[in-house]
Subunit: 326 residues, 2 copies
DNA sequence: CTGAAAGCGCTTACAG
DNA sequence: CTGAAAGCGCTTACAG
């Protein structure tokens, strides 16, 4: 053990542990001479003292960690960016972001008990029981589906609806009268996919188009079957669940020797790096990750500061990135 | 606070906290009646008792967490899979994997102090100082570049060399006499890229080919310039740093209206999902993630069990996935 | 076979 | 302005 404790710092500086603690935690309302403060801080640095987080957590019941729980499906580059941004925003306030890639193999409780985080951010829904326990333990719990912050609600997410809506309207504006929806075969994505599809469906109703034609699309193989289906049903524009699905659709189009955008146009979601490099380059809906990250960070910090008023959620911040595919 | 402590369980079960601790940690060498054990365990479950990890960490100086430090560049789906597998392997032994996406904004020490992990796995090199401090604190530190486990060494990684070698030999076997290397423009990837390129270079020497022609390739735009360069220099086979880079090369080929594999063949690394969907489908070198994950897990568990002999490292486990591009 | 007690390192009322 | 002391919840020699 390195084993440099606050007692060591106290002894070296000729003060009590109380004073060391006051100085180092920057406690307000205590008057300690500037001279003493400097001496303590200097000694701490010199000895390479870092407070035991375990002891602090035990004493205060709280750590400086923010725990992010990811869903059990591969999250992709967009989520990665979001987490990076979030970590950046929070590190300025002494908070560290820790991520759990959540195959839920062990009870979630084991995890947050072990971490005693200040806040838990869930990128997948929590079980009601977990939610309750964490709240009882005084942990700030943020749920997020897309950017929405409301773990308790069950209705479709506004953002997901807006994504589908934007995709559909773009294709309709380009002249498509009959749309297809490329549905991910991965079961774990169903919740998101449902809401996005609903957005497309509502837009179709609104625009006087017929119901979108849904075909399942796997991610690892050209979506030839789905493409043939759409072709035979007179579909000229396909909204894909996300860019990964859209890539499979484009591959299916090539396999069936249909032209894109000539025969069928395609629009994805996420603007992953591969989208710009696809054949043809993929038109897609991008979300402004920075805005989401800042909002999440603001939520955590507002709680940290004990401020009553919560920051107001940003809009969906969607942006259509127009390329060649649609 | 939920606030159910071992004292509560002890009182409810009519035993001492000592006994509760012995029963619940499954301590060997103590004889406690089966009857008592059952009663304690049952009470614990009934009360929803979960030991305070902070207290346990303070007392024992160790938690059940394994901390993974990622590099500050986007890691992609391969790393995600690796982390998932690792978490799976370790969860069976009561260990939870936590990931830190490492823009090194705060000192690393703050992080591991706060987590008191049992082991730290670095997917990017550690500073010597951090390494020393963690070791001193009794934390098991594993470094990994690719799959190699040797944070201290400086020479090129055998695995990275082998990747480049395999790429080059495949293209040469297909008839290419002059190779190109697609070098990532992202500075943070240089260490890996250098070793992989070195592997290609050595293979070229070995095969009697001329030096590979290196061109930088950005990830967000078709690599038209690089492609023109290779064409003008008579290159007929391009080894790319990874699949992302290869995708940009394929896009550049299309932009320059060169055929692939007809004019220039391309081989990537990683076998990301998008590789199979590229135009043309990308030939690539895949690593066996499961094997790496198991090895890493075995390393952690060997230390946990205090076993002297370390598991022997698996080979690179490379596999050429042959598709249309090369 | 079981219990009383010490102690991990911190923070924080409380007393000077 | 500073210090002695309690206590967070656990584990673990040690004594019965």
């Amino acid at each position: 053990m390195a084993g440099i404790t606050s007692a060591d710092v106290a002894r070296e500086s000729g003060v009590s542990r109380t004073t060391v603690s006051y100085v180092l935690t920057g406690r307000e309302g205590v008057t300690i001479s500037e001279e003493t403060r400097r001496r303590v801080r200097e000694t701490a640095v010199r000895l390479g003292y870092a407070p035991s987080a375990a002891a602090r957590a035990l004493r205060t019941g709280r750590s400086d960690l923010v725990l992010c729980i990811l869903p059990d499906w591969p999250v992709g580059p967009v989520m990665e960016t979001l987490l990076d941004e979030l970590a950046d925003e929070l590190s300025g306030r002494g908070l560290s972001v820790l991520v759990h890639h959540g195959r839920r193999t062990r009870p979630l409780a084991d995890l947050w008990r072990a971490v005693t985080p200040r806040a838990v951010i869930g990128f997948a829904p929590f079980a009601d029981e977990d939610l309750l326990m964490m709240r009882q333990a005084g942990i700030q719990v943020l749920g997020t589906l897309g950017e929405d912050h409301r773990p308790d609600e069950d209705g479709p997410s506004e953002t997901q609806l807006a994504i589908g809506d934007l995709q559909a309207r773009h294709l309709a504006a380009g002249g498509a009268r009959r749309l297809g929806y490329a549905w991910p075969t991965d079961r774990r994505l169903e919740d998101f996919a449902r809401d996005r599809l609903l957005g497309v469906q509502r837009a179709c109703v609104d625009l006087g188009l017929s119901e979108p034609v849904v075909h399942p699309v796997a991610l690892d193989v050209p979506a030839a079957t789905a493409v043939r289906g759409w072709r035979d049903q007179g579909v000229t524009g396909v909204t894909a669940y996300n860019d990964d699905v859209a890539l499979a659709v484009l591959a299916g189009l090539r396999a069936e020797e249909l032209s894109c955008p000539g025969d069928i146009r395609v629009v994805g979601v996420d603007d992953v790096p591969a989208a710009a490099l696809a054949a043809p380059a993929l038109t897609t809906v991008a979300q402004s990750i920075e805005v989401q990250a800042r909002y999440l960070a603001a939520l955590v910090l507002a709680d940290l500061d004990g401020s009553e008023e919560k920051p107001s959620p940003p809009g969906p911040g969607l942006r259509l990135v127009e390329r060649e595919s649609g």
